[in-house]
């Protein structure tokens, strides 16, 4: 279950709330241990190579944390006691993104956000069309196709979960779509930085590309961080712009399926949009406004940026720990095939969009 679907309800008895909070502790400690192990390995290798005058490529803590998580999850597995806490990785991701707002001046967000918004609109239109065409060619059910289209065009797992409720899709369709999106997200972590380096993409252009093309927010942030700190910043900005669109796209699908008599009609559309809107986008903007208004001193901005890095460290550990490779391959080949072809084409299209934007605007 996605961490974002979990609700904290103060109306429940205090003992129940405490026992729920207590259940999160082992998994959160595991996230800290895996994330810190990744950081420790990166630093140890860097110290060793420096002390012995060895030239070696620096493998970022991001990759180590994800790899350790992947190995643990797919060899010994994650015992039940750790699972609720591991699922909080999205909580740390959203918190980290809000704090990352301190590294953007509002003027930068308006400039780059404007460019991102234009690119995102084109990307969403192309992705939705492409996934529907592929779904038809491969004979996937219309709701599974819709879920894959929403997942690949906007924001991965959160969008699929939001759309599943809105269009009354089957649980099975939703788990197929989530499995395909997660599998492709994991692959993009290893391929995007390699492609970016081989094409000599600048940090800004690469970050925008990762934010536009990688589906899940955690993977998009990690794909950016694997390139550079600045690339991660730009990946988060582009991805956040995509996330902000989730309500509009899901509302469009909900209205369409209701008109076909295959989903409940949407009553209050403004309330629907607010319910689906990712609130962390507002937090991100608020912190950026405060930073732009010089509310924080320079050392304080550094402290906020470092808190954001620590939050992302837990997120990256969670990305590896929740990826079950065996389960992904059990889901059948058709959704994976549609997702793979779709993602490769979307990656190429968004790469050309970024190249175009890089030519006409200052990225």
């Amino acid at each position: 279950m996605s961490a974002s679907s979990v609700a904290l309800n103060p109306a429940v008895p205090a003992s129940s709330a405490w026992s729920r909070a207590f259940r999160l502790i082992p998994g959160i400690l595991l996230l800290i241990a895996v994330g810190y192990a990744g950081k420790f390995i990166e630093q140890s290798i860097a110290h060793y190579t420096k002390a012995h005058h060895i030239t070696a490529p620096n493998i970022e803590y991001v990759l180590w944390a994800i790899l350790i998580g992947l190995v643990l999850a797919n060899t010994i597995g994650i015992p039940e006691v750790f699972r609720p806490g591991v699922a909080t990785y999205e909580f740390w991701l959203k918190g980290g993104i809000v704090l990352l707002g301190s590294r953007f001046l509002l003027a930068d967000i308006l400039h780059l956000g404007g460019i991102s918004l234009g690119l995102v609109a084109i990307e969403i239109a192309l992705s939705l069309t492409l996934m529907h065409v592929l779904g038809r060619i491969f004979g996937l059910g219309p709701k599974l196709t819709a879920l894959l289209a929403v997942g690949s065009s906007i924001c991965g797992v959160s969008a699929i979960i939001a759309a599943q409720g809105a269009i009354d899709a089957d649980e099975e369709d939703s788990s197929y779509a989530i499995a395909a999106i997660l599998a492709l997200g994991a692959i993009s972590l290893f391929t995007f930085p390699l492609i970016g380096h081989s094409l000599h993409l600048g940090e800004h252009a690469y970050g925008l590309w990762a934010g536009l093309a990688v589906d899940n927010t955690a993977e998009a942030t990690a794909a950016g961080a694997l390139y550079s700190d600045t690339a991660a910043k730009y990946a988060v900005l582009a991805k956040t712009t995509r996330n902000a669109m989730i309500g509009f796209i899901v509302l469009g699908y909900a209205i369409y399926w209701a008109s076909q008599g295959r989903a409940k009609a949407v009553g209050n559309k403004a309330a629907f949009l607010w319910q689906k809107f990712p609130k962390f986008v507002l937090g991100f903007l608020l912190i950026s406004i405060l930073a732009s208004a010089a509310v924080f001193t320079k050392p304080q901005l550094t402290a906020l940026a470092n808190l954001s890095r620590w939050a992302f460290l837990l997120t990256f550990a969670g990305v590896g720990l929740r990826t079950n490779i065996r389960q992904l391959f059990k889901q059948g080949w058709k959704p994976i095939a549609v997702g793979t072809i779709g993602e490769v084409v979307i990656a190429l299209l968004t790469l050309s969009l970024v190249y175009g934007a890089n030519r006409f605007f200052t990225l």
């Binding site: 279950m1 609700a7 904290l8 959203k94 924080f296």
Partner: protein, 41 residues
């Protein structure tokens, strides 16, 4: 761990997404008030 279908959600029940925003804003306030200082990376 989601709410049971037949139980209406309290108006104070926030998603984990919103709690993440509150936590981040609280951390920013603590940094601004010099309660959290020198966060190392």
């Amino acid at each position: 761990m989601s709410q049971p279908e037949n139980k209406p959600r309290s108006k104070w029940a926030f998603s984990l997404d919103t709690w993440a925003v509150f936590l981040a804003l609280a951390a920013a306030a603590l940094v601004r008030l010099h309660i959290i200082t020198h966060v190392k990376w």
